[in-house]
Amino acid sequence: MLQADVLLVERCRQADERAFDEIVQRHKNKIYNYVCRMTNDSPDAEDITQEVFIKAYVSIGAFRNDASVDTWLYRIATNLVIDRFRRGKRAPQTVPVLDDEEDPLHELPATERGSDPAAQAQLAELQAEVKRALAGLPPKLRSAIVMHDLEGLSYEEVAAAVGCPVGTVKSRLFNGRNLLKEKLRRYVEIDS
């Protein structure tokens, strides 16, 4: 666990509101991206991210120092997202048609978009395909792939965040990647 996070949690326990705000600033983007990928960019993603921090705020007294703040927040986010899936508020399997606002390239600075319109269109199509393929994975496999392969958590951190053994994380990654390779075959197969 990062020393800075340990100190922030300790300050939160002493009712220091600024410490909690600092935790939000340190982790909000990671959690938001995780929620976006788990909900296929649901319009509720920002709302769910807020709920993650509200739950953290309310229960920080019960936080155990043997976990990291990161994995604790991912665990709260995972539970909230799965809860939403169960309640069927937003069907995670539905893939919205991309419009200009949802164009993945819309997120990037102009310098990273390149100037070739054909290359831009190709990249946008590829990213939409990846997004669609991820959205089609069962939630448990998707959660492992997003945390490990997109957000960079270790096997152990993913295991702590979802509450399962490391061996299960490895098997979810193995199965999830194989499913993704099937779905994205034309983009990942190398001609030999």
């Binding site: 909690f20 920002e46 991210t49 705020y57 997120e107 590829l126 390779k181």
Partner: protein, 170 residues
């Protein structure tokens, strides 16, 4: 090594968690298996695609909206409710090193407000004599851990005194 085991190791390899003996065994297998070499390449290509996935940005309104929702919950409850609020009023943080100062303040205010036996709320005020005695030990240079046995509850007594004083101030 058979292909299914090699394919498991390919994932450990691309994740950078393969052991040297496993790596050696995988290399031997890959040298003679075009199918698994292809599997390694497609796995690498997939991870490349995933790592290129664009990141989303929160709206500028996020902090404001979150703070509004947090404000509805009311102030955080500290493990030492009134005690924590007292310290926060001045932007201070509770530290063990400040306990003697806290105790001194609490005891002085308590003695000034309610001399011995004069408390209208009966048991609400903690044992001020006990605190004063503990403070004398402290002022005499006795180390915290070296306080006499009857003062082991010093911390909780001081905390109670501070709570009582906070209630009186409110």
């Amino acid at each position: 090594m058979k292909c299914p085991r090699a394919q498991e190791l390919i994932h450990a390899f691309v994740d950078g968690v393969i052991s040297p003996p496993e790596r050696q065994a995988l290399d031997v297998h890959l040298a003679g298996c075009a199918g698994c070499r292809g599997e390694l390449e497609t796995t690498r290509a997939l991870l490349g695609l995933l790592s290129d996935a664009p990141r989303r940005r929160l709206s500028d309104d996020f902090d404001h909206a979150l703070n509004a929702r947090l404000a509805q919950l009311g102030p955080r409850r500290s493990p030492w409710p009134a005690w924590g609020r007292l310290w926060q009023m001045n932007g201070w943080r509770l530290r063990p090193a400040l306990l003697p100062v806290a105790a001194a303040l609490a005891a002085v205010v308590a003695f000034q407000t309610f001399p011995l036996g004069g408390h209208p709320a009966g048991d609400a005020l903690p044992n001020s004599v006990y605190i004063a005695q503990a403070l004398r030990y402290h002022e005499a240079g006795t180390r915290w851990r070296g306080l006499p046995e009857q003062a082991v509850d010093f911390n909780s007594q001081v905390s109670s005194a501070a709570t009582a004083v906070a209630d009186l101030i409110q």
